[in-house]
Every structure is written in C-alpha cells, then in structure tokens.
Symmetry: C2
Subunit: 376 residues, 2 copies
C-alpha cells in the first residue's frame, strides 16, 4: 500500500483546481468532473462505471443493491424534517428509484464536540422514525467525535442495502427516443425550505421540505409498467420488444428513475441523457413550480430546475407504458400531481432542451458550480 | 416524521453530559454508554442488539454481512498509511473478524473546502490500492463538500458488504469458560505511529501503522478450526458439543474474533466478556508490546492495552481447537507472532483481569474517557 506522491499526479484536475471548492459537492458539472477525472479512473469497475445512484451486485442469484450518501445539510433542523430523516429518506430513495426494495440501512455519525446532547437525541429519534416509516431496518452504525471547530454539529452517512426483484433492471443508459418523461410532483420545495431558514424568508403558507420515502410510489409504478415480477404485462404481450438479447429491458416499461436531489431536475435529466446518448425535450408549462418556490427563487436569483428535491422522482418510461405508469403515480399519495413533462428525442444527443410556454426553446444544462451549498 | 422536542428527552444522558465530548467517540465506556443509552433504545432490533462490529441479515438463504465506519483520523497521512487505506482496511477487517468474506465497499467522502486537490488524489488512489489489496470491489460512492472551517480536510465513511459462508457463526456472546484467547501480533503500533506524528516523537527504528486487511488471516483460522464449509473437523467429530440447539457454534471452534481498534485490546475484550457473561484472565507476559510502543506509551502516559491497532486480531477459541488455530495463525504473514494470551473463566463475570509477570493480578477495565482522540 506504500505509494509515493509522484504516483498521484493528475495534471488536468490540479491545474484547473488546486484546491477543493464547494462546487465540487454541488451535484453538477464540477462534481461530474471530479468523478470522471479522479474517482472513476481510480476505482474502475463495471458497477461503478454505470453511474447510477446505486450499485447492483449479484451473489448466488440474488441481486443486491448498495448505495451510500453523506449528509451535511445546514441547518440541522428545517421545516418538514431534519438531517436524520433526510439521511434515511435520501438513501432509501436512491435504492427505490433503482428498482430495488430497500431493506437494511447502516448509519455513521460524525459529531462535533460540543453538540448539544438534546440535539443528538432528537436527530437519532427522527432517524429511527424515518427508518420505520420507510420500512428499512437500521442494522449497524458508528459514532465518531471530532474536535470543536473541525466539524459542524453532525454529519450523517447512510448506506442502504436492498434487493432487486427478478425482472427489474433500470439503468440511466437505457433510454430511447420516443420514451416519455414523467415527474411525480412539484419541484424545488426542499431547497427552498432550507434556504428560507438560512435567509430568514417567510412565506404566507408554511413551506416544509418534501422529504419522504419513495418506495411505495416506485412499487406501484413498476407494477403498472409490467414489472417487477410478472413480465407479462401489456407492454410486452404484443412481442414488439421481444429481442432475447435484452429481456430485462423488455419486461419493464420503465427505463430508469431518479430522485432529483442536489443539482435538481435539470442535472438529473442531463446525466440520464448523457448516459443514454439521447436528447430530451421538456415542456416548461408541464413542470409544476409552486408559487412560493417561484417567488423565493426570483428573490434569491435561483432557477427552480436546479433546486434540490427530496420527495420527487422523475421516470423515463417506454411510450406504450406511459399512460399506465402515470395513472399509477396519480393513485399514490406522493404522486397525486404527477405529470408528463417531456419526451426523449433522437436529436441533440446528450442535451436537455426546454420548450417555454411562449414557444421558444432553450438548452437546460447541468448545474455549473455551486448554487445551494449543503442542501443535503 | 413530525416529532416534537418533548418526545426526545432522555434525562439520564442529558444530565450527565449536556454536550457531546470527544470521549463519546473513544470506543470505550463513554461510547458504550451513548450506544446503550440512546442508539440501542432508538433503533431496537436483533441485528443491532447483538453489538458485533457487523450486522448479519439473511435473504433467500444468503447471509449478508454489513458494517459501516467513519474515519476522522488526524493527521491524514502517517507512517505506514493514510486515511484512505485505513478506511478500507478498517471496514474490511470488521467483516473479516465476523467470519464474512468481504466483497463490496461503498465510500463516502466529506471534503473541506480548500483541501489541496493533490491530497485528495493521493488519498483516492491509496483507497483504491487498499481495496484491490483487500480483494473488495468499490462499487459506489459519494462526495460532499463543506465550507472551510466546518470540516478537517477529509472524513471518509466506508461501508462494507460481505457474505457469510455456510457453517460460520461468530458472535461476541458465545464464549464459554475454558476458551482460549489468541492474539495475532504485537499491540499498540497504529496508535503510536499516529501519536508520533502528532507529538513529533522520533524512534530509532521507523514505526509505521500496522494497518492491513485481515481477511486472509481469518480464512486460515476458520479453516483450521473446522469451519467455514466442512463442519466435520476434529473439534466436533468427537460429538462432545453435539447439542442440536446450537449447531453453528459446534461446527466452528472459533467463538468470535475482534480487531481491537479504538479503545485497544482491553476495550475489545471487555465488550466480549460482557456480551458472553464470562470473565477473562490474561497473561501480561504473553502480550507482545514492541519496545518502541512501550517507550512512547511511557513518555505519553498511555497504557498499550488501550492503544488502537489496525492490523491485529484477537480470537476466542474453543480449547480443543486452540492449538490448530494458533498454528494456522503463525503460518500466515500477519500472524507470525501470534500467541496464546489468556483464558475465558467462569469467575468475575464481565471482568477482564491481567496476571502480571511478578504474579499480581489487576482488573483491566474498558477505556474510560478519551485517550487518543481521532486515532481512526
């Protein structure tokens, strides 16, 4: 393991950024560059290279999904939740949008010396309540303490382990022109709830984070699409996609799902478009932005398309399954406002475009730099 | 998930410690108290309550082991390793000493704004090299960045997922009087290597951390003991322990293993003694403490029994298997100095006693407070 410093030069990254910046944690372009320039070449393997929010490995016929996320949100407590419930839901959702059934969760706390014990208790109990609500068992944990001034109250890293049911195989690289883009609800709520605390903004109606476990919503969607178990739903019974080379794609009408957290809806869709080598065309009028979110974003100079969500998902769905999946989403409490917001196109590969209400079209890029640091 | 602050009062803990202290991360008594007083009641479930360094869950006949640990070691680079290799080996070892085969690892980085990119690269590559050396695949990761002054360069949380082979069932609560206590090598090396950097101590011979993956060592030990596959080794063929109620214990001569990190050998053995409700009697002369460790500990006022190790394990082994297991340990590069250091006794349940070279006996308690903050 002894390695000399010379082995580690990566001239491109270093000359661009001699030091780590907040933007490297944004979930946007700078994060993508760090991953592509440093992490992927160092840890090269197929599970990681798929760049999904979770890795799927296989043992003895069982497909095991694994995902990890550190949470550094500031403030620790905010309308609608706290760092504990956020850490559970965020990790549960990364498994759920990958089609896995979230089963077990590991929680590691990094505490700053001087954190009020009452705050820790409140967060631990909220973590436990969120795990119970999401149907996952917290099986193991760890606690470290760092000196005062070397942390920020509490950081939580949650790792989720789930089981991928037979027949489900979602991946960001499986979208095709003609696929529909479905959004489960209004965007920007979590980010604005956090910013409202930081900036002292008051809303006429209370604005709480949308943090919630998406497992139930993803289940009804997969069932409606012809997955996860049956594989003989209407989308495949016609045999139109019965190529034996890709049975798992054919059996489920859902290509992939994402919960657009850091970097927002725009960054999530850009990642998918690039992974699949397709374009996307969104209909601005179909993307619901609550008035309070729009108002706060105007005040703060933010674009709601880049603001973090914690209880919303976007799904890319085969055209023949889209109506059924959308109907299923609307039948679920977390998808009552679900909408068809756009389509996958063969033009402008890797680029997401937005058609405005008045007819103009603009490119919606991945988030550049850091818009809302420490939002999750 | 909405819970009111009143729900979270835990008077005993709060009145004792209104704020989190460094000692709560020591791995000793204060950590144990935090776990027993807050975490266990909040997250109550059998996997967590077993208090092993890893949780074992079962799905479709496959036993999956999960462990997580945050690493906050300071300094980031030290003789013999760095935070990256330490984070991989520490998590791999928690799986290995539980009898699992470490398979996959998830890595989450919390970076402080301003961290030199060259340091990050060096750590990422060392993390990758350690994963390769330990035979685990890094399948997923996460990166967050916190503002300057809200972190300390880099914190790493690693979560390991492994598979427990059939027939292996190690647990801290399975020790019985008469069992032998085996130690794989000299103690205190990692802690002293870190302290030497912090305190500017120079040694005549170079003193590098003992950080290393223990998977290979645990494999040869389990094979020698009659596990993991066969179950018909000499330790059971006589039928002496053939109670049908506990077949897994009977099939393997090893009751449990630990890698004594934070809190040192003493804290690890205290945990096991308490979990099994047995006493332990150690032979001080049999516990190898390198001269450099002894010298540094005298200078710093430390007891080597409480100093962290990162490449050493202690095993509690059935008497009839002890010779074979010890021989197997000595055949492995990481166990060349392995020794029988004591015995499990029926007296003084929950207490570890040490018999000195001159014949006196003293109680060796769990670490109280914080001896070496941020050692891992």
């Amino acid at each position: 393991m002894a390695v000399s410093p010379e082995d580690f030069t990566c001239p491109v990254l270093i000359s661009d950024y001699p030091n780590v910046l907040l933007g490297h944690g944004s979930g946007g372009k700078m994060t993508a560059r760090l991953i592509a320039g440093l992490f992927l070449p160092s840890f090269a393997n197929p599970a990681l290279a798929a760049l999904n929010d979770q890795a799927v490995v296989e043992w003895d016929g069982t497909r095991i999904a694994i995902t990890t996320d550190s949470f550094v949100v500031s403030p620790l407590f905010f309308p609608g939740g706290d760092i504990g419930s956020l850490a559970v839901n965020g990790t549960v959702n990364d498994l759920a949008v990958g089609g896995a059934i979230p089963m077990w969760i590991a929680v590691a706390f990094i505490l700053e010396e001087g954190l009020p014990m009452a705050d820790l208790e409140r967060i631990v109990r909220s973590t436990a309540a969120a795990a119970e609500a999401a149907g996952v068992t917290l099986v193991t944990g760890d606690t470290k303490v760092v000196d005062r001034g070397k942390g920020d109250g509490i950081f939580i890293t949650t790792t989720g382990v789930g089981i991928v049911p037979a027949g489900v195989s979602l991946s960001a690289d499986r979208c095709r022109p003609g696929d529909r883009i479905l959004l489960s609800g209004p965007i920007g709520v979590h980010g604005v709830a956090i910013m409202s605390v930081r900036e002292g903004i008051e809303f006429e109606t209370e604005m709480g984070s949308d943090t919630a476990p998406l497992t139930g919503l993803t289940r009804v969607m997969l069932e409606a699409a012809g997955g996860p178990e049956g594989g003989d739903g209407p989308s495949t019974s016609g045999g139109r996609h019965a190529q034996p080379s890709s049975p798992s794609v054919d059996r489920a009408g859902i290509r992939c799902m994402r919960d657009p957290t850091r970097g927002g809806l725009s960054s999530a869709l850009n990642e998918i478009a690039q992974a699949s080598g397709v374009g996307m065309l969104l209909d601005e009028g179909a993307i619901e932005v609550p008035d309070a979110v729009r108002g706060a974003c105007e005040m703060l100079g933010l674009d709601p398309l880049y603001v973090a969500n914690e209880g919303v998902l976007v799904a890319i769905v085969a055209p023949e399954a889209a109506d059924r999946v959308l109907e299923a989403m609307r039948s679920h409490p977390l998808g009552g406002r679900a909408a068809l917001i756009g389509e996958v196109v063969s033009e402008h590969s890797g680029i997401v475009a937005l058609r405005s209400a008045v007819g103009g079209t603009r490119v919606v890029d991945m988030l550049a730099g850091e818009q809302l640091p420490r939002i999750c």
